[in-house]
Symmetry: C2
Subunit: 332 residues, 2 copies
């Protein structure tokens, strides 16, 4: 059973909105062929990552289509950033419910167009099909990196400083706002948290600066939550870590939320979807990392250290252990 167009002309309509997204990428072949041609810079290596997002699971069907599109692209760009790769092109498959209308598709494509311009990436190919279920998106992002310079999770060493870009917990707090929680926050603070949840910032410039300067050892992006993702670094590196809770970088909105409800520190420790870079570096690299942070346009904060002893300990300002339970430890 091939997926039939759900309405006559629906797929021509999609082509009308999507083909312009491929117009500047010659290897996309105007989306008219069976596959795209991708030229990797001579001597460089291709980096490829894929993620799926499902309505009702990863976003709400009623979310702005432009936001859904940008999040879909950005979570994959964040994976490229975590490896220190430069974006090249992406392929996307969309499974659209039968009630999808042209305004939705147009807004979705506009979101992609805005982010393509911002992050220097283009649509190279994909597939659009009908579904009897919820909107299902899958995106494969392709990038390139100098071979041997790519950032890996398993490259941490005991004694490394643990650093994180930007601020933590905003996305989890933004999701709370979407659910009607945190009503005591000022409207503009609520809006800034929701924005961080809906539209993550892939730290591509920082990732590139870390690679060019060979400044980072282990690295990944915070998608599962700080403790879970630091756990990935520790497990693959065969190490443990100490995190100083008082040093976790928090946005003004998150500080306001935590001032009213201190237990929300759990959102900074365990909340996912921040898409900040979490990486480790030797002490001697810190000065150069400050410069890389400026080049990357995002602050970087040292929050702890890797340890030879396994396990992750979170300490408060007085050096006492913070009970974290299993928050953020569940692998996904």
């Amino acid at each position: 059973v091939r997926g039939e167009p759900f309405r006559p002309g629906e797929f021509e309509l999609i082509a009308r909105h999507f083909r312009p997204l491929a117009a500047k990428y010659p290897g996309a072949l105007d989306l008219s062929d069976d596959a795209a041609l991708i030229d990797v810079r001579p001597g460089w290596r291709l980096v490829a990552t894929a993620d799926a997002l499902i309505a009702g699971v990863h976003f709400l069907a009623g979310d702005p289509p432009s936001d859904i599109a940008r999040k879909m692209l950005r979570v994959n760009l964040s994976d490229l950033a975590a490896m220190g790769a430069e974006p090249l092109a992406y392929l996307m498959t969309l499974a659209l419910p039968s009630d999808t209308n042209e305004a939705w598709i147009a807004a979705f494509a506009e979101g992609l167009a805005a982010d393509q311009a911002q992050f220097a990436i283009a649509l190279a190919g994909g597939d659009t099909v009908a579904t009897v279920g919820p909107l299902a998106l899958s995106l494969t992002a392709l990038g390139q990196v100098e071979p041997g310079s790519e950032l890996r999770r398993n490259a941490g060493r005991a004694g490394d400083v643990v650093l994180v870009s930007g601020t933590l917990g905003d996305a989890a707090l933004g999701l709370r706002v979407c659910r009607g929680e945190l009503a005591g926050l000022a409207p503009e603070q609520q809006a800034s948290l929701v924005q961080r949840y809906r539209i993550p910032e892939p730290r591509l410039a920082l990732g590139r600066a870390l690679v060019r300067g060979r400044l980072a050892r282990a690295a990944l992006d915070v998608s599962d939550g700080l403790l879970a993702d630091l756990g990935h670094i520790c497990e693959t590196s065969g190490l443990g870590a100490v995190v100083e809770a008082a040093r976790l970088p928090l946005s003004p909105a998150a500080r306001a939320a935590l001032a009213a409800a201190p237990e929300l520190i759990g959102d900074a420790l365990g909340g996912g979807d921040d898409y900040e870079l979490l990486f480790t570096a030797e002490e001697g690299a810190l000065l150069a990392i400050r410069a890389a942070a400026v080049a990357g346009g995002v602050p970087v904060t040292a929050i702890g250290r890797l340890t030879a002893a396994p396990g992750i300990r979170v300490l408060d300002a007085e050096g006492r252990p913070v009970e974290t339970g299993r928050a953020g430890w569940a692998h996904f």
Copy 2:
């Protein structure tokens, strides 16, 4: 909202079945990092293609999971074959309903393992998420080709011979069998048609032989149906075509079906999902193409010619026009 594991341990279970599929591909990094590293042969060019399949639309939820997996991989391999590319690796995203059990996942992975061995391709990355809807699969296949040698749709010239590999209409007839039609056919004929529908044969070796010998002009794979796909070649090449219906290559099972119901010729002209290579070539290349067909392990049949006049005409054995209506012309 990140997709939560739908049962504790479900995603460790998936890792257990999928990680072995990546074991032989070093750039997959054991599926432990944010992205995969793909090395394209120096001087060659990456080829990338993506397709989505949805339960209840492209296959039935109750179909054998091994068949679903192999079809998902093979429809993408067919796109690589149509460009004349060599397979490298693939990324796959799965959105799994909450009632997916381990036996299903194990059988799905076994199907992939079998085809990986057959087609020299490996899993390099992907994503597994929960869905509230039907099983949704998306796969991006990566291959490589000598730059400038890749086969394109738009390279046909007036007077080119139109050729097709294998046989046409089997998949559409196989779908009829699945629906309970064609009950008059012998059981082994029914089974062979269903097999053709469920598990297409990507013509990778033929595609490579055509590229190496520079034997084909325009090419693609028959996924929408012969007339629709020939239409793609004609439109992008700015030409028309004449097809001789009596020369369409038919399997013994299809011949038996058409003997009982001649109107089923429409399945050979318009039925999709055969995934044979449809290509054009100059008359002088035909002898070398016969040799390429032997190298490719599949017969190749000349079925018509490209014409300067636009439109596609189908002629019967006496040279009279066959009325095809819009069958197979609907773009998808």
